[in-house]
Amino acid sequence: MWGVIINRFRQGCRTLSYPKDVPAFPKRFRGKPVAHDAAGEKPAMDMGKCLFNEDMKDIYPKGALTYSRDHRMAVSKREDLILRDDEIRLAAALNEKMLKIFGRSLKLREVCAGSCGGCDAEIQAMGNVVFDLSRFGIQFVASPRHADGLMITGPVTKNMELALKKTYEAMPHPKIVIAVGACAISGGPFQGGREVHNGVDGLIPVDLYIPGCPPHPLTILDGLLRLLDKLER
């Protein structure tokens, strides 16, 4: 008993003041890519395929691509992930009717469909005391029958296709679908593999795309809060 109280006192409050303040990311953090003028034109960059690896920079002409420290990357439409200039059309809020239903309480079901487990670990991390997802009224539930939204990670392996579709069908209407990570958006490192699909698109309609490999918990949180219209536009 005393041990718990003493430790509680020592640990203090660790929850971020996000979204009021955004914590500083370390210098090497690789957030939203930025294309620069090189040889007269800016390269088009598909964030949905980007694995946010450091050596990605070497593929483009020298200096044509850098990573910013901006964690905000979630979008509503697949084509918005293709960066042509520095402007990014971040995810739009749900329509008024949907916001009325989900705005103050959103229950999500997560399905891992062939991810390496990285995205799932970051989704799980959103629930810890630092990010404290539930203070925004968002919770993960155990059954698709209780869920308003489906969060999918992984390229959708052939062996998971049926289970994923059944989970989607088991959810009551209206429902939203969120694709998290490069795999779920484009197949990621497994793109073109014969045992996988290239992401969720074409199997299930997607309402929110969150790029990254894996996306930082704040990137996912940013997408969810934009969907629920809880962030300034």
Binding site: R14, R28, G114, A121, E122, P155
Partner: protein, 514 residues
């Protein structure tokens, strides 16, 4: 036989040097060397790897790698399987360690291990040889296909099926419990849902992509698998990486271990329902991930390891900062662990739950902290020291009881050792270039790389063809063996013990399914 061919961790050799034995001496040699009884001349070796490779003339060669843990070397030999007779006498009835390997060979190369007591698919995909599969319709039907799960019949016996989609935020897999009341009589685990075809892809894609694929074998073991892959490429191209790069890789590997071990302690607290330490451990896990992010820009250390070295430096200022943060984390870890491990209610839940005996761990070839919690002193960092661990040693921790308590305790002990190792090495990081150039891969060579990831022994083996391209890439995640340990741990336990048992193993589905 007289033909002995030994290799060491991180070595590469001409594939032709590997002795080819006939089927019966191949089989006998494995059984003799892996025999534990000294009366039978047993050397107590461990079956580290058993895999097949397609030869040019449509025949298949099966390679065995037997680890002599005490001597730090592995005996490698092979046998040929002709295309006309795609079968061999199964080792499994006499040697349980071979059980998963043989099923894998049957699935990947359509070669039947005759007499295998439990021959069923591992990952449900069609074979690599484009011949008819051992199991017809294996890839056209959803898991489990036509396979009937093991069943217990009788009055009041009942069955519980869980998965592939689980209640929590975890990866997919199917668990089939056969119970009598609360007692679990048998647990059958069927995985394969995460199968992405990584081994095959490794042969087909560019080296720039292959390293990214290696980082995605298991998302919580990015450093472990990336290091194993890089070691393979460096070994196949005779590239010697600098001591500085070795040190930075080892730092990242220990940070990965710390974040996962401490995360697991948090997950165990959650499952017991003791929430304060669950919250504190969960937060503390993040501190180590954030150190990795400071170093590599990714919380899981992606982009750090590349063939030839590392992409990021750890300079004096950063080392100083890391040390300060680690000292704080060490204090936190001590306080929170005391809170957890001194509570009688915690101990009564963990103590004696889900026991895996030393003998069972040995027989089924368990590795990593799971094996060490059953008193098996196996650790690649010591037995087959690689990289920085050749110069700086980490003492092995073992616990004898083999229960959930032991697997929790081992995580705490190993975390302490890792922090001490980091504090020591951060004091003095050796000099050297971050990344050396790698040359073209040597043709017709085989390389072996073993890394002690946080879950245990990671083994990668690669073979090149006459053009120096990767012709076969074999990956073994520690989960490959250890899932069997979970089945054994819950046998005879209560069904409500399953969550804590599962968390105490915390195995990778993705690493198993590849």
């Amino acid at each position: 036989m007289g033909q002995e061919f030994y290799v060491r961790n991180g070595q590469s050799w001409e594939s032709d040097f590997v002795p080819v034995l006939d089927e019966s001496s191949f089989r006998q040699k494995i059984l003799d060397e892996c025999s534990q009884s000294s009366a039978g001349g047993g050397a107590g070796a461990r079956l580290v790897n058993l895999f097949a490779q397609q030869q040019d003339s449509r025949s298949v060669r099966i390679f065995a790698m037997l680890g002599k843990d005490q001597e730090g070397k592995l005996s490698v030999f092979s046998m040929r399987i002709p295309a006309e007779k795609p079968s061999f006498q199964s080792l499994t009835p006499e040697l349980l360690q071979a059980h998963m390997f043989e099923r894998e060979i049957a699935e990947q190369f359509a070669i039947t291990p005759v007499g295998h007591p439990w021959l069923k698919p591992v990952r449900y995909h069609s074979n690599y040889r484009n011949v008819s599969d051992v199991w017809p319709e294996i890839s056209s039907r959803p898991i489990p296909g036509t396979y009937p799960f093991y069943r217990v019949e009788g009055e009041e016996a009942h069955e519980v099926a869980v998965g592939p989609v689980h209640a929590g935020i975890i990866e997919p897999g199917h668990f089939r419990f056969q119970c009598h009341g609360e007692e679990i009589l048998n647990l059958e685990i069927q995985l394969g849902y995460q199968h992405r075809g990584i081994e095959k892809m490794m042969e087909e894609i560019s080296p720039e992509r292959a390293v990214l694929l290696a980082e995605s074998i298991a998302g919580d073991t990015v450093i472990g698998h990336a290091m194993a892959y890089c070691n393979i490429i460096e070994s196949l191209s005779d590239c010697e990486i600098s001591p500085r790069a070795e040190a930075i890789r080892a730092i990242a590997l220990e940070l990965e271990r710390l974040s996962n071990h401490i995360g697991d302690l948090g997950a165990l607290s959650t499952d017991i329902g003791f929430l304060p330490p669950a919250a504190y451990f969960g937060r503390l896990r993040g501190e180590f991930l954030n150190l990795l992010m400071e170093l590599s820009g990714s919380r899981y250390g992606r982009s750090l390891c590349r063939p030839g070295g590392v992409l990021f430096d750890l300079d004096q200022d950063m080392a100083e900062d890391f040390r300060k943060r680690l000292l704080r984390a060490r204090k936190d870890l001590k306080n929170i662990s005391y809170l957890f491990f001194t509570k009688s209610s915690v101990l009564s839940r963990l103590d004696g739950t889900g026991i895996v005996s030393n003998q069972a761990a040995q027989e089924s070839g368990l590795v990593g902290p799971t094996a060490r919690a059953s008193g098996r002193g196996l650790d690649v960092r010591t037995d087959y020291a690689f990289g920085m661990y050749r110069f700086r040693h980490i003492p092995i921790s073992t616990v004898l009881s083999g229960d959930v308590y032991a697997r929790a305790l081992i995580r705490w002990l190993e975390s302490q050792r890792s922090i001490e190792f980091l504090l020591d090495i951060l004091n003095q990081i050796p000099d050297g270039d971050l990344q050396m150039k790698t040359a073209a891969l040597k043709p017709n060579h085989t390389a072996l790389s073993m890394v002690e990831g946080w879950r245990g022994e990671i083994v990668h083996a690669a073979m090149t063809d006459s053009n120096g391209r990767i012709a076969r890439y074999k990956i073994k995640d520690p989960s490959f063996h250890n899932w069997m340990g979970l089945s054994m741990a819950v046998r005879g336990a209560q069904i409500s013990d399953f969550p804590v048992c599962n968390k105490s193993f915390n195995l990778s589905y993705a690493g198993h399914d590849l």
